[in-house]
């Protein structure tokens, strides 16, 4: 159960990591997701090392299959990250798109 307060608390941190460039360290593509992510499947998830060496996970969007490779340059963007909670709070978070 994701509390709307938890969504609010997490989202306060998101702006610090938006618009950051980095490279794909490793990737996978999820075909059998959990309940909150069913409508997005199949979707790629990447682990990115930002230019400041910080590591962040996120889904890759607006991509072509050729973008799914280690070392690919990406940039972090704001996107809805899971289906809405029962309270109607929309959970926004970080995803990535290829550069």
């Amino acid at each position: 159960m994701i509390s709307p307060v938890k969504v609010w608390r997490r989202q306060k941190e998101i702006r610090k990591i938006l618009g950051k460039k980095g490279k794909i360290l490793v990737w996978t593509k999820i075909f059998t997701p959990g309940a909150d992510f069913k409508k997005y499947a199949p979707y790629p998830v990447i682990l990115v090392e930002l230019e400041n060496k910080e590591k962040i996970y996120g889904q890759l969007v607006d991509y072509e299959e050729k973008d799914l490779k280690i070392g690919k340059d990406v940039i972090s963007i704001l996107r809805k990250v899971r289906s809405s909670t029962d309270e109607g709070v929309i959970a926004y978070g970080v995803k990535f798109k290829p550069l």
Binding site: T28, G34, A35, L47, Q59, V81
Partner: protein, 383 residues
């Protein structure tokens, strides 16, 4: 000296007729019967379970076990994701080290198939970091990342991984308690649909129901009375970061390496002394990493070594791995898995493994992992 004197496992599989505590009860009374012990001879119980609180809103299981056993003794629950069973066993061993002449029951159980795959996957994801959950990373996804990294770094393909599943399904065909008893081929694995690239359905352990129990004792008179016993030479737990991204190397489970090093040191034996092992093959890549990180194979060679089939029953090697069928074919009722692994080693060392009995094994190892490597438990038994 702590000895295992009995083991019982329920059938593993989709057991729709049975509840979590039906399975716990069967395992408890099954192992009591095997050892000719009465409930009042048990001094403490350790219970391995991960998901009852998440999926069933069912906690305080220790009190429920007291109700089943009709006794008033210390009972504890251990939770370490998929290593819950191994952690419960470790705590039981530690309890015996602090208390002499005691008999301790260790039971692990999980009830997973009452729920849809999405619900079970969401429940299992509770063992990943918040950031991993937020990115939609499932456990197949985390191991998919590890597999993708390993295959690219060491220039292997999905075919290398598939040999793990073929071997373990062959072993499962010899174990009447296994979830899957059907042999499969390399082609079957490679043609199965993806779960999380590059891992496919037949690279993955199933969602299963089941329970397993062992009795541990340090009562010398009790050991002498029993027909079968194996000595616990070592049981070591090591933890690491919950997030995969915080680890230095993506192609190793550091907690496994560290737990194995300590366990072998305490057991005072070498890797080559181990004749039988149950390693944590939640996904095909996990068995390859386990064999490397436990020190049986050199890092990066696992993709090639698994194709030699030396760890298959009847394969002629000195170390046979996952004769129970592993998590892949025997099934993976999360809390029961760590106990089943130790139980399988007990059966092998005491020559009770029937059709899959390995000859002349004097030492065996069980390796249980929680999450993507946040917990590892390595247990070494001897006779």
């Amino acid at each position: 000296m702590n000895n295992i004197i009995g083991y019982y496992t329920t059938q593993f599989g989709e057991l729709w007729e049975k509840s979590l505590f039906d399975l716990v009860e069967e395992a408890i009374f099954g192992v009591l019967k095997q050892t000719n012990l009465e409930n009042k001879q048990i001094d403490a119980v350790f219970f391995g379970n991960m998901l009852a609180g998440v999926l069933e809103n069912n906690l305080h299981s220790t009190s429920k076990i007291a109700e089943i056993l009709k006794i008033n003794i210390p009972i504890f629950r251990a939770e370490a994701a998929c290593a819950s069973g191994g952690a419960a066993f470790n705590l039981a061993k530690t309890y015996l080290e602090a208390n002499s002449n005691k008999n301790v029951l260790v039971v692990g159980a999980e009830k997973m198939t009452d729920y849809s795959p999405e619900e079970a996957i969401t429940g299992l994801s509770a063992a990943a970091s918040g950031e991993e959950q937020e990115a939609g990373l499932t456990f197949p996804g985390l191991y998919g990342m590890i597999a993708n990294y390993y295959l690219e770094k060491y220039h292997y393909t999905e075919k290398n991984l598939s040999y793990v599943s073929v071997k373990n399904h062959f072993h499962g065909s010899l174990n009447e308690k296994a979830h899957f008893r059907k042999k499969i081929t390399i082609k079957d694995v490679l043609q199965s649909p993806y779960v999380a690239y590059p891992l496919k359905v037949l690279d993955s352990s199933p969602i299963s129901d089941g329970a397993a129990a062992v009795i541990l004792t340090n009562n010398y008179d009790m050991i002498k009375k029993q027909k079968h016993s194996a000595i616990v030479l070592a049981s070591e737990v090591i933890t690491d970061t919950i997030s995969l991204k915080e680890r230095k190397n993506l192609d190793e489970i550091l907690a496994t390496k560290m737990a194995a090093d300590v366990a072998f040191k305490k057991a005072k034996i070498n890797r080559r002394d181990i004749g039988i092992a149950e390693v944590h093959d939640c996904f095909s890549i996990a068995e390859i990493l386990a064999m490397e990180d436990l020190g049986f194979w050199k890092k990066g060679t696992g993709g090639q070594k698994i194709m030699e089939e030396s760890t298959m029953f009847g394969g002629g090697g000195n170390l046979v791995v996952n004769t129970s069928g592993g998590l892949k074919a025997a099934g993976h009722p999360v809390g029961a898995t760590g106990i089943k692994q130790i139980g399988e080693i007990f059966l092998q060392l005491t020559k009770q493994a029937e059709k899959r009995q390995v000859k002349n094994a004097k030492y065996g190892l069980a390796h249980n992992v929680g999450g993507s490597g946040g917990t590892a438990v390595v247990t070494i038994l001897g006779v």
